[in-house]
């Protein structure tokens, strides 16, 4: 958050002016909301395969994702805002992933963790979906098979950057508003 209107300090300050310098600063609404959203992501770990085990290592005490405010894992789509797809999504699982994604409330983000979720991985097979972006829009792709916990944390940091740069009215919602 960049306080965008700190005026130059005058040479003499009254006591109350000096106090108020430390109490408040101004910023844009978007920056404030994005700051609060990115530092309190509530992930929904849609764990299917090996990447889920690496995610379990990420939330454990050694790598500790709660430094980023994201330790509140909620397995209900109504209560979470970040869908982490961890592992291979097969054709049978696809409709379920779509239903979970649809049930989540805006704003929501999707991270495809691992190559299986990003593009099918090395399974070019009859039952494996070649990437979850066939059915849900993905914000961040984290490659790796499985990605190390550092990789997953880097993916979340990239998502935080994306949230910082984004507006608070999301492109999808803007589209919906304009259509009406």
């Amino acid at each position: 958050m960049t306080p965008s209107s700190i005026s130059k300090q005058p040479s003499v300050l009254t006591p109350i002016e000096a106090e108020s310098r430390n109490m408040a600063f101004t910023t844009r609404l978007e920056d404030f909301i994005n700051w609060s959203r990115k530092n309190s992501l509530w992930p929904l770990p849609f764990g299917t395969a090996c990447c889920a085990i690496e995610y379990m290592a990420t939330v454990s005490s050694h790598y500790d994702i709660s430094r980023f405010g994201a330790e509140v894992v909620r397995f209900s789509p109504r209560q979470s805002d970040c869908l982490l797809v961890l592992g291979t999504v097969v054709e049978k699982m696809g409709p379920i992933l779509r239903e979970i994604y649809d049930q989540m409330l805006e704003p929501k983000w999707v991270i495809a963790v691992g190559v299986c979720a990003s593009s099918g991985g090395f399974y070019r097979a009859y039952h494996v979906m070649q990437g979850i972006d066939e059915i849900v829009p993905v914000d961040v792709y984290v490659p790796g098979c499985p990605p190390t916990p550092e990789g997953i944390i880097y993916g979340m940091m990239k998502l935080q950057e994306k949230i910082t740069k984004g507006g608070i009215v999301r492109a999808r919602d803007r589209y919906k508003l304009n259509r009406k």
């Binding site: 049978k92 696809g94 409709p95 779509r98 009859y126 039952h127």
Partner: protein
């Protein structure tokens, strides 16, 4: 060339040879694994015999094979292999039956061994082998709109079939 090693069978499975002398097609002892090839109608009786009389308590595995691209040719295209294990006698035996290509079917052994239930469903799902008498022969691994039997040799390995509706294939 099919051959029956009578000494081998008599040593490893005493009494089996006398009971099923007409149904055994061949035997094999490759790398220490005993395989007995039977005719497809005798499988149920043979497995019951092995369970009751020779104390093969555990059915480890039931799976199928498609020999269409195998050289030299086998008598039929499909085979179902039963992997039996005797805990008390520490013996293993593999029973193999060859099934014809047009309508591969064999008797189900789900009531002899409870483990056979899902293994046979999987063989049906991936190969299309019909198990006569199985209570619930439906897809277990592939999704329920899947057409074809993917592990057959003529099914392409990347033959995708997307699932349209998320309805469960079993319900209560």
């Amino acid at each position: 060339m099919p051959e029956i090693d009578t000494n081998l069978i008599e040593n490893k499975l005493p009494g089996f040879l006398k009971e099923f002398s007409t149904e055994i097609v061949s035997t094999q002892d490759y790398r220490g694994d005993l395989t007995v090839v039977l005719s497809s109608g005798a499988v149920r009786k043979a497995i019951a015999f092995l369970k009751m009389h020779l104390k093969f308590e555990v059915l480890m595995d039931v799976f199928a094979m498609d020999y269409s691209k195998f050289e030299p040719g086998t008598p039929e295209r499909f085979a179902v292999i039963y992997n039996l294990f005797s805990l008390s006698k520490k013996r293993r035996v593999r029973l193999k039956v060859f099934l014809k290509e047009e309508n591969p079917e064999v008797d189900s052994v789900y009531d002899l061994y409870a483990s056979a239930n899902w293994f046979e469903r999987e063989a049906w799902d991936l190969f299309g082998i019909q198990f006569k008498g199985h209570p619930h022969l439906t897809r277990i691994l592939c999704h329920n709109e899947f057409e074809g039997h993917p592990l057959r040799k003529d099914y392409p390995s990347d033959g995708y079939q997307q699932l349209r509706r998320a309805s469960p294939s079993v319900g209560l």
